[in-house]
């Protein structure tokens, strides 16, 4: 081995100079790119910080609103024409007072939320001494229909709102009408059976948790 032996194809000075120039140019490009990326990253970080702040403000405002608004929870268990009214009348009235209102419908109360059944709720004179029909007569086939027709005529003559109208009004004014999941399953009802806007997938725990926070709790 000898240092005298020239390496094959040793680059010339000119070649090296050209290569250095090339690398320098590349370095300039990379530096420029890096600085651009740094600016972009800084912008993104600032935007993220701003978004976090906005979200925090919004959630604070929502918490304030929830705290300031008084609450009422009604558990509605009845599905007869007469008993469908009180929960809906109180719910829409409380909403007008600015209350955050939840009506938890369970058992026959589900009928009131059922889109096809709500307009066909019935009333029975059997066991109802407020209606002047003796039980023996009231128990005859077809008498529930007669009693119901009489009641509906009274409701119309007095321009009392229909159940469907009260449901729409309640939903429009922000009342949360809930359908108990357990009784939905019990009766074989699906979410689509109910009016649009009705909350499903809730159980007693949800209702109870609401009741512990509420200012007014009623079982109808």
């Amino acid at each position: 081995m000898s240092t005298d032996t020239p390496a094959p194809e040793e680059p010339s000075r000119a070649d090296l100079a050209a290569r250095v120039e090339e690398l320098e140019a590349e370095l300039t490009d990379v530096t420029a790119e890096l600085s651009e990326l740094r600016t972009e990253a800084a912008d993104a970080a600032q935007a993220a910080a701003e978004a976090t702040e906005t979200a925090a403000e919004a959630s604070e405002a929502a918490a304030d609103a929830a705290e300031n608004s008084e609450q009422m929870v009604i558990v509605a268990t009845q599905g007869t024409l007469d008993m469908a009214y009180p929960p809906l009348i109180l719910a829409s009235t409380a909403a007008a007072f600015g209350y955050d209102v939840t009506v938890f419908h369970t058992f026959w109360g589900l009928e009131v939320l059922h889109e096809e059944h709500a307009g066909e709720l019935e009333l029975s004179a059997v066991g109802n001494p407020n209606l002047s029909v003796p039980n023996a007569v009231a128990a005859l086939p077809g008498m529930d229909a007669v009693t119901t027709r009489m009641m509906r005529r009274k409701i119309e003559a007095n321009e009392v709102a229909s159940i469907e109208e009260l449901i729409r009004t309640s939903l429009d004014t922000g009342v949360d009408l809930q359908a108990c999941q357990m009784t939905m399953d019990l009766f074989g009802y699906e979410e689509d059976d109910f009016f649009d806007g009705v909350t499903t997938g809730v159980g007693a725990a949800t209702a109870f948790q609401k009741m512990t926070d509420a200012d007014v709790q009623l079982l109808v």
């Binding site: 009348i89 009235t93 007008a96 007072f97 321009e159 009392v160 709102a161 009260l166 004014t173």
Partner: protein, 81 residues
Amino acid sequence: MSSTIDAAETLDVKGKNCPMPVVETKQAVDDLGAGEVLEVLATDPGSVNDIAGWASSTAEVELLDQVEGEEVYRHYVERTA
């Protein structure tokens, strides 16, 4: 019977019964600007106490007057803010 109160809007709930006069009054007041007055025309005798009760426990609302006519009750509700 006339009133000297200048109402920006009039809500007609004649014939309608509880709870609609209060519910619709609330909805109509929500649409008012601050300082504007809503005139409510009702035939429901319960509307006198109901609208007064609602107004007294609702923020930013003031009942200015209630006029009992022969058949129609006129309620004047101001949105104060």
